[in-house]
Amino acid sequence: MIHLQDIRKVFNAGKPNEFVAIEGVNLAIDSHGAIALKGPSGSGKTTLLSILGCMARPTSGRITLQEREITSLPERFLTEIRRETFGFIFQQFNLIKGITVLENVMLPAYPNAENHASLKKRAMDLLDLLNIGGKALAKVEWLSGGEAQRTAIARALINNPTIIIADEPTAHLDTHLSAEFMEIMRQLKQEGKTILLASHDPIVYESKVIDRIVEMRDGKVVSAGGGP
Amino acid sequence: MGLMFMDAVVSQRLDREFVRERRAIVRALTLTDLCLFTEARYTRHPSMTELHTPFQDHPMALEHFPSGSIMAVPARLYPPAQQ
């Protein structure tokens, strides 16, 4: 589904603090399944994840998504692809403070020009599904860690993406909540979504949910992992 | 905003009688100016003020009435180049 070909990403190119985040990455990711990017911090997991999620452009190399070459697409189309294909769960959840859980969940769908009422209904259904429907009208800063995580998941799902991307999703969760997160991921995988996780937490990459582990070190893929 | 315009229209209609009355008085008494500032003759009757007003006290006289700074200087008093 996604093919990466000789991807290289350089930050601060040409400046004294230039550094190469990833280099020579070739990776093919099939649909349906859960893949974990494993590696110590600074190994390039996040950079690779953001390139996979069309958030950042590689300095060189080619990316094809569903047989479509997207490296050279203009920003607008990349945004559209990102919105429709990917659902993101960030390390800090990155919920927008001061507004309600419901509004946070609805946010990614606003540019789609969906009818407000039907969007609201879909968001409520998602929250109910994740068992936090009761908190829909609460402000996000009053949420517990687990509730914030579910809100973030609901937000990632609102546009019905085919791929879920999560960067260190368990970094701020205790063991119990981490297990719960993986359980939700399992259900999503069962529904046919592709899951991409970056983590150095054994709870994640040793989980049965994960079908394939891609190991990274110093910006290079050390082991592409053919499967469990 | 709509209310404002409505109030304005209504007030204008109500005040029409007063305006007529004022006009009648202006005609009857041959008045030439509004009674806005009474401190100096060039502020009480600006339209009757002679052309030499800037020099009425002495050639370097500076304007010292507050109302003088609200009222604009008549264009005819500027040198031609500045008009």
Binding site: T46, S50, M55, A56, E75, T79, R82, R83, E84, F88, F90, N94, I96, K97, G98, I99, T100, M106, L107, A109, Y110, P111, A113, N115, H116, R155, N159 | M4, F5, A8, S11, Q12, R22, R23, A24, I25, V26, R27, T30, L31, T32, D33, L34, C35, T38, E39, H45, P46, S47, M48, E50, H52, F55, P66, S67, I70, M71, A72, V73, A75
Partner: protein
């Protein structure tokens, strides 16, 4: 329809997002409202005065002729009347007698004017509203001067001439008559020692208003020491007098306005780290740069429109219902006697549009422009936070 849904969704988020920084936004709206309030007050006030002047002074004399001596207005000899009357097109020439009288008792300047109706009623006066209030300091129960009260006038040689109030000018005419005292010709000449063959100026009626400039030219030809003033000039004077671009109020306003610009600039350019982070999140979850600018546009528009409507509404109340109390100290100036007239509200769409373009548009633009820069940040910056 779809585009409308999108606008609605984004506006929805903007409004709840404004609610988050309540304190900051309320403060901003208040300052903004105040600026618009001041601007609109000046605009409403001057416009209404101009309009009122233009309406009322249509009936001012078609031409006034005054005589100048050494740069000062002087008495005009009565015999000028005959020569002027002979000019073709002149319908009538009437001498006016008027002048200023300083009343030491009340400390106010009055305009003394001869009225033909009083000519066979020497000893009687008719007073304007301002005079009636000002000249009765000793009066009890806060009443102004009444009929048959006597005002003492000090004549040129120091003797006192008591004149009896025989009537009051209608309250509604206060805008033109507040400081007027109408006297008989006999009393006027007695107070100021003006010879019988002299008048203050002459008032002309002409058959055809188009001939006014020709007649004026002829008058200055016959009497080079005179200066004719046309009604058109009077109207023009009033149009220019309250040209709202000039004056003290605007100087003060300019200060307020610049302070506001600095505030708005600071608020708009200095996107806080929190706001930048939010823009990053929105981009990451699939908002386009244009969506973010749209949101910022709504944010600027919401703040400035709210302030705009509130400011204009308050200004309307201030100028037309509260008689511009805030401007009163400036307007009163050195006048002891000040007419408290209530202005007829003359407002038009043009004024509102002027204010709109002066305030709402620049502010809205000022909020969008800086977001442009941060809206183009790479969305993956959120991943690294």
């Amino acid at each position: 329809m779809k585009a409308l849904e999108k606008q609605r969704n984004i506006l929805d988020f903007t409004l709840s997002s404004l609610g988050r920084r309540k304190g900051k936004n309320i403060a901003l709206v208040m300052v903004y409202t105040f600026v618009i309030f001041l601007l609109a007050s000046v605009l409403f006030f001057t416009h209404s005065l101009k309009k009122e002047a233009a309406l009322i002074l249509q009936d001012a004399p078609a031409m006034t002729v005054q005589r100048l001596v050494a740069g000062r207005q002087d008495m005009i000899p009565m015999h000028y009347i005959d020569s002027i009357r002979q000019i073709k097109g002149v319908q009538s020439v009437v001498p006016r007698l008027w002048g200023y009288y300083y009343d030491a008792l009340s400390g106010a300047n009055y305009t003394l004017m001869v009225n033909a109706d009083l000519n066979d009623r020497a000893g009687e006066i008719i007073i304007g509203n301002g005079v009636s209030w000002r000249s009765a300091p000793g009066k009890r129960n806060n009443q102004g001067l009444q009929k048959n009260d006597i005002i003492p006038f000090k004549t040129y040689d120091g003797t006192v001439l008591g004149l009896k109030v025989k009537g009051l000018l209608p309250f509604a005419s206060e805008l033109v008559t507040a400081d007027l005292i109408l006297v008989s010709e006999t009393d006027f000449r007695k107070i100021f020692a003006i010879a019988n063959d002299q008048a203050t100026d002459l008032v002309l009626q002409v058959r055809n208003a188009k001939e006014l400039p020709t007649i004026a030219a002829k008058i200055t030809q016959i009497h080079p020491d005179t200066r004719p003033i046309l009604r058109q000039e009077i109207l023009r004077t009033y149009d220019a007098v309250f040209d709202w671009r000039g004056g003290v109020i605007l100087m003060v306003l300019a200060g307020v306005f610049f302070a506001f610009i600095i505030l708005a600039w600071d608020k708009a350019t200095g996107l806080s780290a929190e706001e930048k982070r939010e823009i990053g999140i929105l981009k990451a979850i699939g908002w386009e740069t244009s969506d973010i600018l749209l949101m910022k546009f709504w944010e600027g528009a919401a703040v400035s429109l709210m302030a705009f409507f509130m400011g204009i509404f308050l200004a309307y109340l201030h100028v037309f219902l509260a008689s511009s109390i805030l401007f009163a100290p400036v307007l009163k100036g050195w006048s002891v006697l000040y007419p408290h007239f209530r202005l007829t509200p003359y407002i038009n769409a043009y004024q509102i549009a002027t204010l709109f373009f002066l305030t709402v548009i620049p502010y809205t633009v000022a909020t969008i422009v800086p977001s442009w820069r941060s809206a183009t940040i790479d969305p993956d910056s959120v991943m690294r936070m």
